[in-house]
Amino acid sequence: MGMLLEVRNLSVYYYTLSGVVKGAEGVSFNVEEGEWITFVGESGSGKSTVAHAVMNLVPSPGKVVSGEVIFEGRDILKLSKEELRQIRGKEMTMVFQDPMTSLDPLRTIGDQMIEAMTVHGVPEDEARERAKELLQRVNLPPDRLDYYPHQLSGGQRQRVSIAIAMAFRPKLLIADEPTTALDVIVQDSIMDLLDDMKAEGTSIYFVTHDISLAVERSDRIAVMYAGKLVELGTVEQIVENPLHPYTKALIEAVPDLWSERPVKAIPGYPPDLRNPPKGCRFHPRCPLAKAGLCDTEEPELREVERYHLVACHFPGGAKDE
């Protein structure tokens, strides 16, 4: 499979009134054609920030301060407005977290679906026909075209968002916590739709804070903590053999109905990104942290086995202690 997206050394800072928030720092990864990659992490870990940067849609006061986002050989961050506009929605598209606010309340969903196609040059009557088909594909009756967003439920609205995303069979779909606002049953049906898109060759870039949601359908998982990519590997590698203590903690924090194992919370809070901890950013909460090393030296992201990258001084646990 070929390479679709290559992110190199991406850093995004938010210039707020109370200081510079380092939302993401030195993030590098690839997305292959037709794969499903999931980004997990706590709130504020930078997973959404990176996703927005890939679309070159970092909301102000955020700014990409360094790095490259190579999508099909072109650096997204260096494209002109018009070139970007032509790629967005057609080659790569995005589904947002909150379906309640991601559709314009004053216009019918058909209107919005059709517009998504006409802005890329599809004639209006053809777009209308396609919008009907798309609605059917996401299991909504085509007469919903004339409904306003407030007449639909949250799950139905998210289906509409996905139908819009499907309009052009994009190469990359960025789904920024698309199921967070929905209940579990609806959540599953939305995930099925994303799976369908993947089956048609779209790479799925999925962002979630729920690692259990990631395990079932992803090919690879990327774990972010405090603006840094701390571990990246295939699902098996991450689940069976988590090497970063934070990944381990995340997995242990998932409740399991069938075991006696207690749910473990991660002690402490995520750091203040205006002034992140020196050394490894996880060291104040890490059970393995070693004074003189972890609090001074920042671990590099390195490949410890094939496809499996981790940024930790003691991958897999302390060996010499």
Binding site: M55, L57, P59, S60, K81, L84, R85, Q86, I87, R88, G89, K90, T93, M94, F96, Q97, D98, T101, S102, L103, D104, P105, L106, R107, E115, A116, V119, H120, S161, I164
Partner: protein, 282 residues
């Protein structure tokens, strides 16, 4: 179209604001009808001078006659044309200028925003009546110049309101989603932001119309609007004012009452709409 539907709704539904709306709307409607049908309603020629000066209200002259023997009632009816014309032109101008600038400023941000905001804030910081007087003096007395002077004063009101709304709408997910779909910037402004701003523009419009009427009356009171003998409420108020002490109260009283009623009518409509709109979001 939506505005008309909204008006019909306000008239029909028994909800808070209905009474206010009906009262305000009737006043405004009567004045508008007066202006349209002035040639047929007015019993006398408003500019015709006669020997019957200072006649108190009677059947022949329902509001009496003034110092030149002109029929005050006819002047009131014809005078409604000037004030409505000036106010309509003035508010249209300030909306046409203020709303797009506010959209641009809020949506684009950056330098354009800073420059525009600075200019608008400096206009806003002047006392509005004094600024309008200065502009009207510079442009010279005529109804259209008065309208320009008034519109200049109200542009910042629309600008600031639209800019603020645009800023908050820009952060909404559906606007970001539109960008993620590759919708052009000006299309986003036109289709996604403008319609969401319009309800507030409507409220500001009705409230500022009331204010604009008082400003117009003030300017023509100072002789900066029409030239005699054109009938005009503000001007007639001034003409009648020196004769108050002589007991000829009807010269100043009726124009004054009309100015007050019209301003009140618009203020009531604005208040009613405001009440209904905020009811929906509460």
């Amino acid at each position: 179209m939506m505005v008309i539907e909204g008006f019909v709704k306000l008239l029909r539904e028994r909800k808070p604001g209905r009474g206010l709306f009906i009262f305000g709307f009737s006043i405004v409607l009567i004045v508008i009808l007066m202006a349209i049908f002035a040639p047929w309603i007015a019993p006398h020629n408003p500019t015709e001078i006669s020997a019957d000066v200072f006649q108190p209200p009677s059947w022949k002259h329902p509001m009496g006659t003034n110092n030149l023997g002109q029929d005050v009632f006819s002047r009131i009816i014809w005078g409604s044309r000037v004030i409505l014309y000036v106010v309509a032109v003035a508010t249209t101008l300030s909306i046409v200028i203020g709303v797009p600038l506010g959209l641009l400023s809020g949506y684009r941000g950056g330098k354009i925003d800073r420059v525009l905001s600075m200019v608008m804030d400096s206009i806003y910081s002047f006392p509005s009546l004094i600024l309008a007087i200065v502009i009207a003096v510079v442009l010279g007395p005529s109804p259209i110049n008065t309208a320009v002077a008034i519109s200049f004063v109200y542009v910042p009101t629309y600008f600031r309101m639209v800019r603020g709304q645009t800023l908050s709408l820009k952060g909404q997910l559906f606007v970001e989603a539109a960008r993620a779909l590759g919708v052009k910037d000006w299309e986003t402004m036109k289709k996604y932001i403008l319609p969401n701003v319009l309800p507030t523009v409507l409220v500001v419009f009705t409230l500022s119309v009331a204010d604009a009427i008082l400003t117009e009356a003030g300017l023509s009171f100072l002789g900066l609007s029409v030239t005699p003998p054109t009938p005009d409420w503000g001007y007639d108020l001034r003409v009648g004012q020196p004769f108050l002490l002589d007991g000829y109260w009807w010269l100043a009283f009726f124009p004054g009452v009309m100015i007050m009623l019209l301003a009140m009518g618009f203020a009531m409509i604005g208040e009613a709409i405001n009440e209904r709109l905020s009811l929906g979001t509460r």
